[in-house]
């Protein structure tokens, strides 16, 4: 967890999407650990992250993001490259 700010923000999004205020995230959290994180909810989750963080995912990226650590990694990369562009 090298980016606590990112994880705090992700936790908020997860809590809202899955309607569970007790959720806590670690890089090792996977879809199997969270009740309701199936392939359908996954799309809602990704779009919620897009909305909140101002990034865009393409459908090829969807598949590999069923794990919080990977999700944070891709997100960090996207946020950084956006800063570079700006």
């Amino acid at each position: 967890m090298d980016n606590p700010h990112l994880y705090r923000e992700l936790t908020e999004i997860f809590r809202e999407v899955f309607d569970d205020d007790t959720l806590t995230l670690t890089p090792e959290t996977t879809a199997a650990d969270i009740d309701g994180w199936d392939s359908m909810a996954h799309i809602g989750l990704i779009v919620a992250i897009e909305e909140r963080m101002g990034v865009k995912f393409n459908s090829a990226e969807l598949e590999s993001l069923h794990n919080v650590g990977q999700l944070a990694g891709v997100l960090e990369y996207k946020l950084e490259s956006r800063q570079v562009k700006a």
Binding site: V17, D19, S39, G44, V47, S59, A60, E61, L62
Partner: protein, 518 residues
């Protein structure tokens, strides 16, 4: 060329294996080129004319892929190239699938291919079109790399999957073609691959072709059959379809394995499913995966984004409202299954097949969203759990069966007649008592068929110890009622040798596969 033909078994396969072994002494590229050329010959054996179409499609898509990969953003947006290529691919597919049969007025021929040389649909066109579209989409999104031409040709044409899948994904096959390994034949892969192939051949030649007799007979006289005959016809078709496609997939995976290439699984005992969602994760698995990735997900993402723009919620709570459920679940499911239905054929019956499954899936998802959770203290006993499991299995299977009647019947009317017959509402005063449909042999055949389907392990479970595929399905981890494990022993060699002998005797008139028409 059919896998279940003497020409394939005694000429093509031995020559390709031998050539592979010789090429392997030379260079990896020689192996790739040898397999690609063999696969093209495999296709040409059926139709030299359509070989041109296959080669044309490959060259076109390879060129489009190169254009996309070179990223000439400033002069030509890659999205434009991608869309133009997708439209061109789909136009050719639709022309052969819907337009040609329509102008020839021979749609019926597609459904009852008497002789497979009568087929006007270029074999495998759906499969090689889908595989290539996925590759282009992934190239555009940066999820695939540009390939050299020979690897690309082999990826698309490799004969075990060329005609009826499994639908391969470049990410799982390309690394295997490029791996730094010894490309010579390996005895362990040959043993596993050959065992798998013989099991599949048995399913096709001995089981599927046996059930096809009753299925064809019953679907020829829909509307006048008595209740028993209708059920025998529908159950026979259900088993025929299962053993035909599952047998084909076993053979495809086994053949690829002989060359030490692992394919993804396509079947995981789908009739053991306890829900429709479960069923689609176990039936034609690579198609489900494909339409999820390239159809359902993009549609669902588009809807979710639209809702966000409109200021509506997309949370779990929102999905549990009627409006949210319709938009977030029912709509993308229906569109996807509608297209999947239409892909299977041009008739209205295929639309109904797709929409029925869409309805089943919506009910299944709705159940998951709205069912009240039972208190943990009232855990049911083992017996109740078991009975509930059998109940869910049968309910799922009957739903599948009803949709299969539309899948098989010559039209919607014939399907409705068949369903009416199953509940005793046949036309006319005297139902047709087709004795051949209720003979002892037929009934014993059905019982044996269902015992195999419901009680025995599937082939990848039998071979599990030898890592038969890229990844076992989660459902394959549940043990079956009877446990059988293949081993490379003389006893198993003897058994499979006897099975092969039986198959060879039965195979004198090779029959085509049901999935070839798609």
């Amino acid at each position: 060329m059919l896998f279940n033909s003497y020409a394939f078994l005694f000429v093509f396969l031995p020559v390709v294996l031998l050539g592979y072994q010789v090429a392997a002494h030379w260079h990896r590229r020689a192996v790739i080129i040898w397999l690609a050329l063999s696969s093209l010959a495999f296709y040409a054996y059926w139709s030299p004319r359509f070989l041109l179409l296959l080669v044309g499609s490959i060259l076109f898509n390879y060129a489009a892929g190169s254009l996309i990969a070179s990223r000439l953003e400033d002069r030509l947006p890659t999205k434009t190239v991608l869309w133009a290529a997708i439209i061109a691919n789909l136009a050719v597919l639709c022309a052969f699938k819907y337009f040609v049969p329509w102008i020839n007025g021979v749609t019926a021929v597609f459904h009852h291919p008497l002789n497979w040389s009568d087929l006007i649909l270029p074999l495998g066109i759906s499969f090689f079109t889908f595989t290539q579209i996925a590759y282009l989409v992934d190239l555009e999104q940066g999820a695939a790399h540009r390939q050299d031409l020979d690897s690309y040709v082999l990826f698309v044409t490799f004969f075990p999957h060329l005609i009826a899948g499994p639908i391969l994904h470049h990410a799982e096959i390309m690394p295997q073609l490029h791996a730094r390994r010894d490309f010579r034949l390996r005895s362990d892969d040959m043993a596993v691959g050959f065992a798998w192939f013989v099991m599949g051949l048995f399913k096709k030649v001995v089981l599927a072709d046996r059930f096809s007799t009753e299925a064809d007979r019953a679907f020829l006289v829909t509307g006048v059959l008595h209740t028993g005959g209708s059920w025998v016809g529908v159950l026979s078709y259900s088993l025929q379809l299962y053993f035909d496609f599952s047998g084909y997939s076993d053979m495809a995976l086994g053949l690829a394995r002989m060359f030490s290439i692992n394919f993804p699984l396509n079947f995981s005992s789908p009739y053991k499913s306890r829900s429709i969602i479960d069923f689609w994760q176990r039936w034609h698995m690579t198609l489900t995966r494909y339409i999820m990735s390239y159809l359902y997900n993009p549609i669902a993402m588009w809807i979710n984004r639209r809702r966000v723009r409109q200021g509506k919620k997309i949370s779990r709570k929102a999905t549990a409202t009627v409006e949210g459920f319709v938009q977030l679940v029912a709509f993308p499911t229906t569109v996807t299954l509608f297209l999947a239905g239409v892909w299977h054929g041009a008739g209205l019956q295929f639309v109904i097949f797709g929409l029925l499954h869409a309805l089943y899936l919506c009910i299944n998802h709705g159940w998951r969203v709205w069912r009240t959770t039972r208190p943990a203290t009232a855990a049911p006993s083992a017996l109740v759990r078991r009975l509930r499991g059998i109940g869910s299995l049968l309910l799922t299977y009957v739903a599948v069966l009803i949709a299969q009647v539309f899948f098989r019947a010559a039209g919607v009317g014939a399907a409705m007649d068949m369903l009416a017959g199953m509940i005793g509402r046949h036309h006319g005063p005297v139902p047709l008592r087709s004795a051949s449909l209720l003979g002892v042999n037929t009934l014993v055949g059905l019982v044996v068929g269902y015992l195999i389907v419901w009680c025995l392990p599937n082939t990848q479970q039998m071979l599990a110890r030898f890592k038969p595929s890229l990844q076992l399905a989660p459902s394959d981890l549940q043990p079956s009622l009877v446990r059988i494990a293949w081993r490379p022993t003389p006893a198993w060699g003897f058994v499979l040798g006897a099975v092969l002998l039986l198959v060879l005797v039965r195979m004198q008139v090779p029959s085509t596969f049901l999935y070839f028409q798609f």
